[in-house]
Subunit: 410 residues, 2 copies
């Protein structure tokens, strides 16, 4: 069973609005066992809408349409669907009662424009909209289902959740699709692909693998489909555990896990505390850590040392070390990490020093050169990285690498 | 002149990744005078890609394709384009040299897989990818242009900006579209709309206005089109200067300006220095400031004080003040700002203390309550804000508000 999502609206085609509706609908359909064949964004134009409907029905069983149902002149979807299905608009008492109720709750007066919204194509079944005045519409035509919804996200979402998804589930009790995403940190996409190529080649045909890279992280998404949910899960887990045998040191989590969340959980469980001393990351690690609610339970704070003087005075980095080895060096980053441990009286610390770029590189130390240290009371681990030339990416890569080094240490 | 954007990737169809690439490309094409007819997201599937290419060329002159150019097995776009245009892959020395250079800079070893990425369809012109190993490809076929780019946003964006958009501009000189965005900080969207409603109603028909809200910021985008660029600019400027008369205290910049950049420029020009003392923003202000290349010239550093003890010891906040007034109070945030000035020996400082949420609120001080102080040697300005319930948005709002308070002070 497959579907196409048609998003109608000029704002999508000038790039003013990002099509988050389509992603959300796709996610929900997937969870229901409906595969999305295509997502198409088109303009508020009669001919274009007809073309898109024709193209969609040729490939998909269910066509979900959003947008163009508002009360203003540029909203043409309803009339267009009327013409397409050769039907006419008819006043619908049920829809009208519901609009009246909504206006009553909000203490507003109905206009004629709103009354017109209760007119529904005769060939369709209205879908209740608890959050707005435009009802949804459900059409059936030559074995295909067409569903039209408003483009306002929270109106569309409640309509999907309360009415459309349950109805689709009943109607097309279909194939189950399962995803699991393995999160890795430490090597780039090509290297990772080399390392796991045997495992990848041995995957059965009904398991698909996708590489999804982000700065410092590569996500591996495995997808499988079939009829027996339990069995699918067992097969997926089997292959993931095989993968774990090959790259266990690279895997840090699954699905929506983040490093800042995982590190926080471990610190909380072990009742340990953390501080940071950031130079090149300039507060980004601290920002990630404190983006987690309740992080004040284990995170004490940071010194952002953006000058040598501050590194010396606030973190106790020896001036001579900076002169002898440079600010971007193992010696300095170790002293920064130790300085943070002492100053904040924490169990662990992370320290960074690097050339984020685009300026500041030398022949000896190019842009992207970065030292990271993670320290415990009795142990300190350091590592040098050569990241790229992009400042923003270097900052992100350093941050996730530092957090992962800490995760491994604790 | 119109275009279609084809985004290839299963991750789009299961809703795992939101198609921000397509919106960005649509925006850029619009600025270049190219209208986007349709945005289509499809799977990594040979037949589907061919169908989409056929459908796109029937309606559009330019077809921009993203995704599926990586070095791994699930990336099939290049081979598929080869078949579609009846050509074959050929090793391209220029592309190879560039991949080698990229690996050399990063200190990594080339794999055979990477070498294979230098193979380009013979019928295409390679497009340089300064940020990654997959070159872009430019095809011409029966009067239509097909452009294939990687799906990694920053690789695609630099390719578009440096090569593709200039080439499209040269090739299809069409109607001129001009945008100018006015950046405001201080009031929400609805309030702003009330304040400028007379001005908005007086805008001529060929100037379109869009409200683009972000946490703490509302962008007002004005768009106009025509044939005389000079004249369009004059009209736009006239209306913007009228707007300035109404809300000059809310406008902080234009187009791609950011507060962190503007603040940095002023500090650099005046040869002044800055430090921060962050509690609720947890390093986010510091991160914004240090995201600007060369910020080490004026930014000295920060104390992220995520515990009361650190506020006391590192910033000199009096324990009694915290007991008497609470940590989220004017007294505490003033002492934090003064502490940062002294510790880092800077001309200016920003300090924040608030309840970012979701926990930590009381009847007296609800989640979102935030105090911000900006200090100079001889002056200190404080303000209390009641932001919302969302942690991430509260952090962002506090950061941009603090930066804007500083901008006004200096």
């Amino acid at each position: 069973m497959n579907a196409e999502i048609i998003s109608i609206g000029d704002e999508l085609l000038i790039g003013q609005v990002i099509n988050t509706n389509a992603s959300w609908i796709a996610q929900q359909l997937n969870l229901t066992g409906v595969q999305v064949y295509q997502i198409t964004a088109i303009s508020d134009n009669n001919e274009h809408i007809r073309d898109a409907l024709d193209a969609a029905r040729a490939k998909s069983d269910i066509i979900l349409i959003t947008g163009g149902l508002g009360p203003t002149k540029d909203d043409i979807t309803k009339q267009c669907l009327c013409d397409y299905f050769n039907t006419c608009l008819k006043f619908n008492q049920e829809a009208y009662d519901q609009i009246k109720e909504l206006f009553h709750i909000r203490g507003l007066k109905l206009t004629d424009r709103n009354k017109k919204q209760a007119e529904i194509p005769e060939a369709s079944i209205p879908i209740k909209n608890v959050n707005g005045t435009a009802p949804g519409m459900w059409f059936e035509d030559k074995g295909k289902v067409f569903i039209s919804m408003p483009g306002v996200p929270f109106e569309m979402k409640s309509m999907m959740t309360d009415h459309i998804l349950p109805k689709l589930r009943d109607r097309f009790s279909s194939e189950i699709i399962i995803h699991k995403t393995v999160l890795t940190q430490g090597v780039g996409e090509s290297w990772l692909a080399e390392m796991i190529s045997d495992w990848e080649n041995d995957l059965p045909d009904n398991i698909k693998l996708a590489y999804l890279p982000q700065p410092g992280i590569v996500r591996l998404r495995l997808t499988t489909n079939g009829n027996d949910k339990k069995e699918l899960k067992i097969i997926l887990e089997k292959h993931i555990s095989q993968l774990n045998e090959i790259i266990s040191d690279l895997i840090f989590g699954y699905d929506d896990d983040t490093l800042e969340e995982l590190v926080g959980k471990i610190l909380r469980t072990k009742d340990k505390t953390l501080s940071t001393a950031e130079s090149c990351t300039g507060g980004y690690i601290s920002h990630l850590i404190t983006s987690i609610p309740g992080s004040s339970d284990y995170y004490r704070g940071s010194v952002i040392a953006y000058s040598n003087e501050i590194k010396e005075r606030e973190l106790g980095v020896k001036k001579q070390s900076m002169i002898d080895h440079g600010v971007v060096s193992e010696e300095v980053v170790v002293q920064m990490a130790q300085g943070a441990l002492g100053k904040f009286n924490t169990d662990y610390s992370i320290a960074t020093s690097g050339i984020a770029g685009p300026g500041g590189g030398t022949d000896e130390k190019t842009v992207g050169t970065t030292w990271i240290a993670v320290a415990a009371r009795d142990k300190i681990i350091t590592k040098k990285y050569l990241f790229g030339e992009n400042r923003e990416r270097n900052i992100r890569k350093t941050a996730v690498t530092g957090l992962n080094m800490l995760r491994k240490l604790i």
